[in-house]
């Protein structure tokens, strides 16, 4: 059972959706994330750098077909933080439902 912990780093909408996309995957290519989130390269890079500095994602660069390809994966710490954050969001919503019956 995951303990709910609200995480300000993950809560940013782009970073939250990025974590949600990555949660079910071992890793995803940078362009896939960029296209799915509907942001530019630079915006996604900035958000990923924030997640990476928190130890939540790992970026891997590899050369394939003479092109540099970046793949992104959630770390164990990132998965735990994401699960805890989602649990915290559910708690907030459930708290509201309990506080205002009907």
């Amino acid at each position: 059972m995951t303990s709910p912990v609200f995480d300000e780093i993950i809560h940013n909408p782009v970073r939250l959706r990025a974590c949600a996309m990555l949660a079910g995957l071992a890793h995803a290519a940078f362009p896939v994330l960029r296209d799915e989130l509907g942001v530019s390269d630079s915006v996604l890079s900035k958000h990923l750098a924030t997640l990476e500095s928190a130890g939540y994602v790992k970026l891997t660069k590899a050369t394939s077909d003479r092109r540099l390809r970046t793949s992104v994966a959630l770390t164990r710490k990132g998965r735990d933080a994401y699960a805890a954050h989602v649990a915290a969001l559910r708690l907030i919503v459930a708290g509201e439902a309990t506080a205002s019956p009907g």
Binding site: F6, E8, H11, P13, L16, R17, A20, M21, L22, A23, G24, L25, A26, H27, A28, A29, P31, V32, E36, V86, A88, L89, R90, L91, I92, V93, G95, E96
Partner: protein, 153 residues
């Protein structure tokens, strides 16, 4: 907690939508299952040829190359790599894998027996086709299960 319930609910909606989309992207398309099924069907054919004539290492090489190419193509086309280990906590998925192993071992054993008794013949074609169709269906079912589990978390 520094967010209000409305914000939290919209965040949860965004999470659910992103997880569903992630599952859609990671779920292998039909060509993956067909390719997988055909590659699986090579295993019993290999067993029959190995029994009736001689071991055919070229088929083993073709099979390994086909599996490797299949996974490489999937990764290139989708741009993602799924997490699969968590699926082993789902009994139905494990049963599906067992069914696949039973199918392949069973088809290989049957082909070995038939090749031993009758030599190579046209019987090899329907056995290979049935194996390919069943392996394709098992692959499709497993991938649908994966998409459901991932998208419904």
């Amino acid at each position: 907690m520094e967010t209000d319930p409305v914000d939290a609910q919209s965040s949860l909606d965004a999470v659910a939508s992103a997880e569903r989309r992630s599952a859609e992207i990671a779920t292998p398309p039909l060509w993956f299952d067909l390719w997988f099924g055909v590659t699986c069907a090579v295993i019993p054919v290999e067993a029959a040829i190995g029994t009736a004539i001689a071991a055919a290492p070229i088929l083993v090489v073709v099979e390994c190359l086909s599996f490797g190419l299949l996974l490489g193509t999937y990764r290139r086309v989708t741009g993602v790599w799924p997490r699969q280990l968590f699926m082993f906590t789902h009994l139905r998925f494990v049963l599906l894998l067992i069914a696949l192993v039973v199918l392949l071992v069973g088809a290989a054993a049957a082909n070995t027996q038939l090749a031993w008794s009758y030599g190579l013949g046209w019987w090899l074609v329907p056995v290979a086709v049935v194996t390919a169709v069943l392996a394709t269906l098992l692959s499709r079912t497993g991938n649908a299960m994966y998409a459901h589990v991932l998208g419904a978390r």
